[in-house]
Amino acid sequence: MMYSDKVMDHFTNPRNVGEIIDADGIGEVGNAKCGDIMRMYLKIEDGIIEDVKFKTFGCGSAIASSSMATELIKGKTIDEAMRLTNKAVADALDGLPPVKMHCSVLAEQAIKSALLDYSKKHNIHIEGLEDINFDDDHHHDIEE
C-alpha cells in the first residue's frame, strides 16, 4: 500500500473531525464487521452546507477520504454535495490504491446518507436520493 502525500496529510491532520450536536442530518455507512464505519454530521442552512463533521472507524484511506469529502462539500449547496463522486474524492487525494477505492465510495455514501436523513427530517425532496442503495457488503478485494 503506498498512499499519496495528500492521503497521509489528511490521515495525519484530518479536517472536520468530531460531532455536531444539533446536526440537521446524520448519516452512517459501513459495517464494523468489515472494519469500517463512517458517520457524517451536516449543518444545513438555506440549502448550503454550513458545517460538516465526521467520525470514522477504518483504515488510513477511509479517514483521509472522510476528511477530504468534508472539505469538498463544506460551504457548498446540497446539489453540489449530491454531485460529489467517490472518484472526485479519490482524485482530490491524488489517487487511492485500487484496493482502497471503496473507502472513497464510503465517503460519498456517508454524505448521501446524511442528506437523506436531512431530507426525511425536514421533509425536503432531494433529486437523486431515491434509488441509492447503501451497500454494506462492499467488496474489499476488487483490484482493478
Binding site: 452512517e28 464494523a32 464487521k33 472494519g35 467520525k55 483504515c59 488510513g60 477511509a62 484496493v99 474489499h140
Partner: protein, 387 residues
Amino acid sequence: MTKYIYMDNAATTPVKKEVFDEMLPFFSEQYGNPSSVYSLANASKMAVEKARERVAIAIGADKKEIFFTAGGSESDNWAIKGIAYSQKKKGNHIITTKIEHHGILHTCQYLEKQGFEVTYLDVDEDGIVDLEQLRASIKDTTILISIMFANNEIGTIQPIKEIGKIAKENDVLFHTDAVQAMGHVKIDVNDLNIDLLSMSAHKIYGPKGVGALYIRRGVKIDPLISGGAQERNKRAGTENVPGIVGLGKAVEIAYENMEDSNKKLINLRDSLIKKIEDNIDYIRLNGHRTERLPGNVNFSFEFIEGESLLLSLDMVGIAASSGSACTSGSLDPSHVLLSIGLPHEIAHGSLRLSLGDFNTEDEIDYVVDKLVTIVDRLRQMSPLYDR
C-alpha cells in the same frame, strides 16, 4: 523522526552480518554450479552440504533428510501436495487447523477442489488446538496431519509432542510448519515424532527466498518441482548456493544463541505486555500468555482499525503489523483472530509487535509511549468509542 524501531520480526528480519559474510563469496567468486564436476564447483557443493549438516543438527535430523527449497511457502506446499499425491491410493483425508498460515490453508483448500477431504481443527481462545478433536478426526483414509509449531500472528505454541504421539499411534504422517518456531524452540524431530517440517531462512536473520523441508527417511513424497537431479532427485533447480549457505549459518547462530536470545526476548516481551496493559484500557492480549513465542506480542485495541494504527505508528518510526504480513494486502480480518473467538470488529483492531535480537528496553518504552497517544487519537475519531 530520528530512529526507526523495527518490531515486525515475525514478518521478516535483516540478514545478520555473520550470515551475509558467509554468503558473499558465492555470488561472484565461488559461483560454480554444484552439479558440475570441475573443481570450481567443489566449493559450492561443499558449502551446500555444510549448510545441510548445520540444519540437520539443529533439529536432530540426518543431513540426508534435509531438502532445500525457496522458502516456507514452498516447503508447506511441497509437504502437503507431495504427501497428498503420493499417498492418494492409501487415502484422501488431511487434518490441519483453522489457524495455519495461508501456505497451508490455501494449499489444503486447493486440494479440496481436487477431491481431497480436509478437516480444519478448532483452537481454544488461546489458540491451542483441540487434541480430543484431533483424535476423533482421524479415520482410515487419513494420510496426513499438518499442525503448525507456533503461530505467526498470536505466537501460541502447540503441544507438538502430544500431537506427534497421536500421529504415531495412528500411523499417520505428521507435518509441522515450524517457520516461526525455528530458533526459538528446541526441536528434535525424533523425540517429537515429526515426519516433515518446514522452515524459512528470512525469519531467523537469513536471506529471503530460501528454506528447507525436513522429510523423514523412508517417507514417500512426490516432488513439487521436478527436473534436474538436485536435492537427491526430490527438488529440481540449480541450487541457490548463497541462499542455502545463509540458511545454514542463520540456523546455526539461532540454535547456538537460543537460550540467551530467548531469555532477552521474553523479558522484553513481558515488559511490553505489562506496560501496554498498565497504560491502555479496552484491550485484549491475543494468544496464550505463557505457551507463546518469546518475541510475540499481539493485542486487540477496541474501537479502532489496524491499518490506521500501523500508519500512525509508522509515522513515528515504528514498524509493526496487523496480523500476518502476508495478508495485509487483503482487508479481511485475520482468520487466526476469528478462530480464537474475537468478534470481527475487534479482530480488525489488532496489532502485532514482534521482537527480535536487535530490540531494546528503551524501544519498548518509546513504543508504549507513542501507542498510548495514537490509540487515544484514533479512538477520539471513532464513531464506536462514544457509543
